[in-house]
């Protein structure tokens, strides 16, 4: 999907599909409703969040007046900033492990498993179609103090009953679950880029005396890099703001930045603070996207 996302942007007006004379007006009419929808329900809310974060708008009427205090407090070494860095670290770990784990699988399916290719791909992708909540639930059950792993340990006498291995409600539970959730998602764009690889390049490398490792390092890996980067982005960026996974398997220790945001708008009822955190997250996402998007474009030009 990620690859196709980039493809849309890459679609230059092909000769056969060049615009007809009336295209301008028609296009505006066609694009207006979807753009308007995202404008109203995404961009306008983003602006509102910003206005809340500087207290131009406030949850309690009558208290609004422009101030940057909440931003200063946040950026001046607040615990929320620490939580943000912890979330970045967790997302980075999740996305790197997911990519490293999925790459050999994508490689295997795309380049080695010739006939059963799409069956194997479906096998890997199918869990992604399964309810997100259900996949979280599975790990909550499995890692629990009263779950199958611990009960098996009691049963075999490895651990005493009442002395479970504590796995649930740790940040490792969150990391493991996120890796589990994202592996199928990561495999798809990597597979797509490897699948698009011109095999003759590998033959040429081989003819010119390259070893398998050299051919992989100099040909296959660089050419599959756009898929790898796309996969990485599509895990790393959304998981920075992960909210629900920590709620289900993370407990207090596994809390992430998204939970802090939710808490500010929920229990703490501090929309000023919450808006600062939300807007900060949106800015980080936008910055990361623009960095990676540029890199993807450069790759695309470089690899023709």
């Amino acid at each position: 999907m990620a690859v196709e996302a980039r493809k849309i942007e890459a679609t230059a007006p092909a000769p056969g599909t060049a615009a007809r004379p009336r295209a301008g007006l028609v296009t505006t009419t066609l694009l207006a409703p979807p753009l308007l929808w995202l404008g109203v329900f995404f961009l306008v809310p983003v602006v509102l969040i910003f206005l809340y974060s500087v207290n131009v708008f406030a949850f309690f009427p009558g208290t609004q007046a422009f101030t940057l205090d909440a931003w200063k407090n946040f950026l001046d070494g607040s615990p929320f900033l620490d939580l943000f860095w912890k979330s970045i670290w967790m997302s980075l770990l999740v996305s790197v492990v997911a990519v490293v784990a999925a790459y050999p699988i994508a490689y295997y399916i795309a380049l080695i498993a010739s006939k059963r290719k799409y069956v194997l791909l479906l096998l890997i992708l199918a869990p992604f179609l399964v309810s997100y909540f259900l996949r979280l639930l599975a790990w909550r059950v499995i890692l629990g103090d009263q779950g199958p792993i611990n009960s098996l340990l009691y049963e075999t006498g490895i651990r005493d009953e009442g002395d479970p291995v504590r796995m649930l409600y740790t940040q490792w539970a969150v990391i493991l679950t996120l890796i589990y959730v994202y592996i199928p998602f990561v495999a798809l764009p990597i597979f797509a880029s490897l699948e698009a690889l011109d095999r003759r390049l590998l033959e040429a490398a081989s003819d010119l005396g390259a070893s398998r490792w050299q051919a992989f390092r100099k040909v296959t890996l660089p050419l599959s890099l756009p898929g790898v980067i796309a996969a990485f982005i599509f895990v790393f960026i959304p998981t920075i703001g992960e909210y629900f996974t920590p709620v289900v398997v993370g407990g207090v220790e596994g809390t992430m930045f998204g939970n802090a945001i939710a808490d500010q708008f929920g229990q703490s009822l501090n929309w000023l603070n919450g808006s600062v955190l939300s807007f900060f997250l949106l800015v980080v996402v936008a910055v990361l996207m623009s960095i990676f998007a540029r890199f993807l474009t450069v790759r695309r030009v470089a690899t023709g």
């Binding site: 679609t11 995202l38 329900f41 995404f42 809310p45 890997i124 259900l134 592996i183 708008f265 996402v285």
Partner: protein
């Protein structure tokens, strides 16, 4: 043709290692779900070994739980309307992006696809603030509006490759024969696009039905199915029921999606427009 490339792609040992890793990963992906299924039939309120015996009690309890059934109905309502909206908006966007030369195309597609990467919590908070500011009461309509935002990029990503493969000459022929643009759309483009539209609808439906982050913030007093399941997690004795329901939904959504994909291929083959390469790898 493939033989030399296969040799350079992997050694015999490498192949063994890779297929071993493949098996491990498949086990990793499926074991948790299989365990969940196993415990849903186990005669014990706790998900523990040793297994006690086979029972379908959890499934019967589910069928008898009115709140749960109500939440399923609510989610189905939200999902059916939201996915209809997302498919219509996604179709418009896809046609414009594929068939027209546009100024600012990349900016437009970046905005349209952005819900794929923006953390849902940020979207959810934005909608909460927005609806609060306009004093829109939270409920099914706000859930639908939010879920359309989330589903639009998916419908676009499904429809764009299909539109790109559609033979533009069919539309041009219709225009040459005097059909107006709407007639052309209704008689040529729409029928050819129908299988992809159905796929997009189903994907959007499943997404909305399963969505919990945005739903958690703009639901008001409405309880969707995932929210209901989540609220029940607080009561450990209800766990088997939650697991049972989740298993039913899992089976249903997988069957639905696979069925739709098979149906789409059959129809496309019959239309004679089946691409030479399967859709998953057409990048």
């Amino acid at each position: 043709m493939a033989t030399p490339a296969m040799d350079i792609a992997v050694s015999r040992t490498g192949k063994r290692v890779l297929s071993g890793w493949f098996v491990i990963l498949v086990l990793f992906l499926y074991a948790p779900l299989a365990l969940l299924l196993l415990f849903s039939f186990n005669d014990n309120n706790l998900p523990v070994f040793p297994l006690r015996g086979f029972t379908t009690q959890a499934y019967q309890d589910f069928a008898a739980n009115p709140e749960l059934r109500a939440s399923v109905v609510t989610s189905a309502k939200v999902a059916s309307i939201a996915s209809l909206g997302a498919v219509m908006l996604g179709l418009l966007a896809a046609i414009a992006l594929v068939r027209r030369r546009i100024v600012g195309k990349s900016a437009a597609s970046a905005l349209l696809l952005s819900p794929l990467v923006v953390p849902y919590i940020a979207l959810a908070i934005g909608l909460l603030v927005f609806f609060n500011e306009l004093s829109v009461p939270l409920g099914i309509p706000t859930l639908v509006m939010g879920h359309i935002v989330l589903a639009i990029p998916y419908t676009i990503l499904i429809l764009v490759p299909r539109l790109e493969r559609l033979d533009i000459r069919l539309e041009e022929a219709a225009r040459d024969l005097g059909a107006g643009w709407f007639q052309t759309f209704r008689l040529i483009t729409l029928p050819l696009l129908l299988p992809a539209l159905v796929s997009a609808y189903i994907v959007a439906f499943v997404l909305s039905f399963d969505e919990i982050v945005v739903a958690n913030f703009v639901n008001g007093q409405t309880t969707t199915f995932p929210l209901y399941l989540f609220s029940q997690l607080r009561f450990p004795t209800l766990l088997p029921q939650v697991i049972a329901v989740a298993c039913i939904v899992m089976a249903a959504s997988v069957l639905l999606l696979i069925g739709a994909e098979i149906g789409r291929r059959v129809v496309e083959r019959r239309l004679g427009t089946e691409p030479t390469e399967p859709p998953a790898g057409n990048a």
